[in-house]
């Protein structure tokens, strides 16, 4: 009699362990996937920049420095390894530098009405604005998923199987300060006059 009871308790425990383990693994994979999504959007941004530079190059002879800063920031961002320790800090630093250079470039573009008048620039601005949004939303999604994952693996009783699932606390993206948070708003042509 007590043997059956013991068996039943054991079965419940085993089922719970399986469930908790699978839940953690699912969240872990979601977190990894969310991080990949950011990579996809960053790549999209890096691919867009040469087009933008080509489109404005001719008309902006006097602003060579601004252009070069963008190109340099982009090349630096491309070289960042997307694996290894402190990956988020390294990516974040390079991409923030790129964002800053881009913002300056777009502010300069605003000062050349004849440049803005060509449809190409307007389209590129829209594409860039969209890419900035995509990166921001992909990061937001990643942070939400990773937070869920982190909470789950630290909470009782799930944390008992965290070692088994080799769960580790995932880093979150940090928005350095309020100024950095404001950066993605580069759709100047849509709402604001420079």
């Amino acid at each position: 009699m007590s043997g059956i009871l013991l068996l039943a308790v054991l079965a419940i425990v085993v089922f719970w362990v399986i469930g908790a383990y699978n839940g953690l693994i699912a969240l872990k994979n979601q977190t990894v996937n969310a991080f990949k999504q950011i990579d996809v959007q960053l790549k999209r941004r890096h691919d867009l920049i040469p087009n933008l530079v080509n489109a404005v190059k001719g008309a902006m002879e006097f602003e060579r420095e601004t252009l070069e800063a963008v190109i340099q920031a982009r090349n630096q961002a491309i070289r960042v390894e997307h694996t290894g320790p402190e990956v988020m800090k390294r990516i974040g630093k390079a991409e923030d530098a790129l964002s800053g250079a881009l913002t300056r470039l777009l502010a300069v573009v605003e000062q050349y009405p004849q440049l803005k008048a060509t449809g190409n620039i307007g389209q590129l601005q829209e594409e860039l604005a969209s890419t900035e949004n995509r990166i921001a939303f992909a990061r937001q999604m990643y942070n939400d998923t990773a937070t869920q994952y982190n909470t789950k693996q630290q909470q009782f009783p799930t944390f008992l199987v965290a070692g088994l699932a080799r769960a580790a606390v995932a880093d979150l993206w940090e928005l350095e300060d309020q100024a950095a948070r404001a950066v993605p708003q580069i759709d100047l042509s849509m709402k604001r006059k420079a």
């Binding site: 999504q37 829209e126 594409e127 969209s130 995509r134 939303f137 992909a138 998923t145 309020q178 849509m190």
Partner: protein
């Protein structure tokens, strides 16, 4: 700020799956009742017919109508999204050729990332009134449709908020239930129109049926019972369209609030949706391209009914959407909480004694 939306996602999905099943099942059962009820009445009528005359022994009417109901339900479920889109005259944005269309595609793709759903197919409804709806059976085969008026009148942030609201419906599987319902409402409306014509033209049939009851009138009570049943049966035929309408209404009000909350969660910008809703309300003409059958799918009531302006018993019964003022008030509440939060963050970052000026 939007715990409700995140915590209840799986429950909401399960609920929508279950409700869709019940809806389809109820639809088929209703048809079975119509068919077998008729069979039973007919069987009672011909019970003591003379030998050689027709006796209604096999319930072919019930079998036929049940099969028909199941067929319609399956067809409606399968082709619902196409039918809804077709009924609004929407066309798909495949290669965006204007700035506005390009912006729309970008915004939808951005919000798909924020909501972590596959990119839905994007449709444009040629109507100057701003409105939007989503349809589809599951997130991997979803459609988002917006009117021409919406992309012309809304800023990028507002468009984002509206699209996020629609993707909220997609993510929690509201679209499955609401699309199936729309398709069934359409089917019932079509049939009740046809039946009305049939009844008006076929009064003679009813008359002769009554005569048959009279002939077997030796036992008066069963004949009366039969008559009563006949009346109930006819009434349920006539009630069908009203019942499906009421279902459509009851199903959609609460989920607008939930989709609003999900929009705020995806964009982190509840005030954008509030301002979009105000804009949509301001242009509260009727969205003529969207008919009654698909009204409950839209972000604001396309029929421009005054009922949607108030809360209350009557409005609860008959309006497909909660009052916009209520929705805006809730979104503003979320926005206020967010502002507080950000202010606290800023003060903490600046090293100021946090909480000194922000009592919580």
């Amino acid at each position: 700020m939007s715990d409700g939306a995140t915590l209840n996602l799986f429950e909401q999905q399960a609920l929508n799956r279950r409700r869709t099943t019940w809806l389809v099942l109820g639809f088929v059962l209703f048809f079975a009742w119509l068919g077998f009820g008729g069979d039973w009445i007919f069987w009672q009528l011909t019970l003591n017919a003379e030998p050689g005359a027709y006796r209604h022994a096999f319930p072919w009417l019930g079998a036929l109508l049940t099969a028909l109901g199941a067929g319609i339900a399956a067809y409606a479920y399968r082709t619902g999204p196409e039918k809804v889109l077709w009924s609004t005259g929407a066309w798909e944005v495949l290669t965006p050729d204007t700035d506005a269309a390009r912006r729309l595609v970008n915004v939808v793709e951005e919000m798909a990332i924020a909501a972590a759903v596959p990119r839905p197919r994007i449709w444009l409804v040629p109507d100057a009134d701003p409105n939007a709806f989503a349809t589809g059976v599951d997130p991997s085969r979803a459609h988002v449709a917006v009117t021409q008026g919406l992309i012309e009148q809304c800023t990028r942030d507002e468009l984002q908020a509206v699209v996020a609201h629609e993707l909220g419906h997609v993510k929690n599987l509201d679209v499955r239930l609401m699309t199936t319902l729309a398709a069934l409402v359409g089917a019932v409306a079509l049939m009740s129109d046809g039946l009305g014509r049939l009844l008006r033209g076929g009064r003679v049939v009813g008359g002769s049926g009554g005569g048959g009851g009279g002939r077997g009138g030796k036992k008066g009570a069963p004949a009366q019972l039969l008559l009563m049943l006949f009346v109930v049966w006819i009434i349920s035929w006539m009630l069908a369209p009203i019942i499906t309408q009421l279902l459509a209404i009851g199903v959609s009000r609460k989920r607008e609030y939930l989709a609003d909350a999900m929009s705020a969660q995806f964009t982190r910008n509840p005030l954008a949706l509030a301002s979009a809703l105000r804009k949509l309300e301001g242009a509260h003409g009727a969205t003529t391209a969207i008919k009654r059958g698909a009204a409950h799918l839209c972000i604001v009531d396309p029929l421009g009914r005054r009922l949607d302006q108030r809360e209350g018993f009557v409005a609860d019964l008959f309006a497909t959407h909660p009052p916009i003022a209520m929705r805006i008030a809730r979104l503003k509440g979320m926005g206020y909480a967010q502002l507080k939060h950000e202010q606290r963050d800023r003060e903490a970052a600046a090293g100021a004694p946090a909480g000194a000026s922000t009592p919580t």
